[in-house]
Subunit: 334 residues, 2 copies
């Protein structure tokens, strides 16, 4: 079984009927350097909506009718590629399918270990690496800095805040709902959490960060980013990671009217792609694994069972009801 893209969700929310289910069997004939892979677990990422829209042109373009792309972990069934054997675990760009054929060149071998799929798709996967490289290389936190994170209870934000604590920052997370906020302060060690559904973010940030925001990590965009841009400190670094607000709005939402504050504050707003740091991904995974082993970083995920639930599961990312990393379990390793 596999899910194919049926419609592009450009300028609107995702819908269940943006995909069509294809139950026909997969005919496999491998060319040289290819793998037939059984999908084990899939990652849910906001970028997937952008891939469906071909937004930004930074990923391989999709066509209507393509299998819905997704990062994931699979197990090799058959291989015509040197270095890959049946039974091996691989990570890379897979899709919403029980099995598929991929080029081995884009795949990374994963060490078999307990919970290998969850670990490699979460903390050691794109979420953890995005947090690690975005914060250390773009945000450049200094001990004593005030770090503010929007979408703080998400897969990336929750790791950004924990790395911020390791770097000696005062960490303030913004999230929706009391239970997420409690999780941030009580379990992840954030200094403060602001519940944007119950509190005025602008006023609370002024109270909690009277000296301004040194590093701003933004997953949200929209009005929240604008309000926070008004509170940046001298030489602030604003890391633009995501824009959940803009994924949901119809048409193109306005940009941050307060962008000009970067002049008054000699500040910088910067974006990045995880692939910019491809050469150092192993280094990032090593650091994150060590912090996990030392108990300095906690990973939280929610695993939804069944490829049939993929469309509704991805939609949950955009309504903000999940905490930590959202994963889809497709099959157990053989």
């Amino acid at each position: 079984m596999r899910w194919r893209i049926a419609a592009r969700p450009t300028g609107r929310e995702l819908r269940a009927d943006d995909y069509t289910r294809d139950d026909s069997p997969l005919m496999v004939r491998l060319a040289d350097g290819e793998l037939h892979v059984r999908v084990l677990m899939l990652s849910c990422d906001p970028a997937q909506k952008g891939w469906m829209e071909n937004a930004g042109g930074y990923a391989a373009p999709t066509e209507i009718g393509d299998v819905m792309p997704a990062g994931g972990i699979g197990q090799v069934i058959e291989s015509t590629a040197a270095g890959f054997a049946p039974g091996d675990l691989v990570q890379g760009s897979l899709g919403w399918a029980n099995d598929l054929v991929v080029k081995a060149a884009g795949m990374r071998l994963v060490e078999p270990e307990p919970d290998a799929a969850r670990l490699n798709l979460g903390l050691l996967g794109s979420s953890g690496l995005t947090a690690y490289f975005g914060l250390t290389r773009i945000g450049v936190p200094q001990a004593g800095d005030t770090l503010v994170i929007t979408g703080a209870a998400g897969a990336v934000g929750s790791i950004v805040g924990q790395i911020g604590k390791i770097a000696g920052c005062r960490v303030i997370g913004i999230a929706g709902g009391e239970s997420k906020c409690r999780w941030l302060t009580e379990e992840l060690g954030f200094d403060h959490a602001i519940d944007y559904k119950a509190e005025k973010v602008k006023h609370r940030v002024r109270e909690l960060a009277p000296g301004g925001i040194d590093v701003l990590w933004d997953n949200v965009g929209g009005d929240m980013l604008d309000d926070l841009m008004a509170r940046i400190a001298h030489r602030a670094r604003v890391v633009i990671c995501g824009g959940i607000a803009r994924y949901q709005q119809r048409g193109r939402p306005p940009g941050p009217g307060n962008y000009f504050n970067i002049v008054f504050k000699s500040a910088r707003m910067e974006g990045f792609l995880l692939s910019d740091f491809a050469r150092d991904h192993d280094l990032g995974r090593d650091r994150l694994r060590r912090w996990l082993a030392e108990g300095r970083i906690v990973q939280r995920d929610e695993v939804v069972d069944g490829l049939d639930k993929a469309p509704e599961t991805l939609m949950r990312l955009f309504c903000g009801d999940n905490v930590g990393k959202l994963l889809i379990n497709v099959a157990e390793p053989a």
Copy 2:
């Protein structure tokens, strides 16, 4: 005579009656470390409108009734400060006045030479140094880069483009009107100029910079910045220097909706203040003076005679009718 601030032009255009004329004589009694200075020449800068509004909080706050602040060159009449003698030329924050009392600590001695005032307020003053440090330290141009400049015929933009040529860039200037555009290409050596009053900037930039914009220098903001943000190249540097568009609009104009392109392009948008580079200002002046002597940089200015014309002269900056640096001549050196 002096002009005092009578009203704050927040969210609207400057008006002649934002100032009141004060013809009472100045009573001078110097405290220690002060100078009584005769004003010779004054600089016109967009930032002066921001000073009147106390926008951004980056300059000393102004009060209604204060003498209108302006960068300028003066000649010392009387001094209680070591190192400053009557007859010396000084540069610093002066004001719209025939003479005034200033603290010597904020003043810089200027070498007497022909045209010392014009040279030090133009190419070697805030405009030239802003161009030099903003481009070399924030824009970081590389040989072969495409550099696009908005407000290219202004005091800062015209120097940015010439430094860009020295750095080996392809330089495209955007300005209003055919004569400004001809000046950029025929006299300053810009590769191309786009007349935004006659041409579609978005389409022309696509034609002239098919590989995208590597360095974007923005003096304008508004829709023009937004259109250009859509055309940035991978790893682009967007230098936010000014926002003439936002000085004119009522209320707060929207930010660049295309800001999110910095994620797709791993790009950066950064602001700065000239004071960030205070330690290196002498180095900047040396470089600019050498390029001027070698004929690699041309300075153009327009000198308006008479302090009585200060209010109307400053207003001209914001309607885009001046070319190069706009100066007000108050008196000849004694």
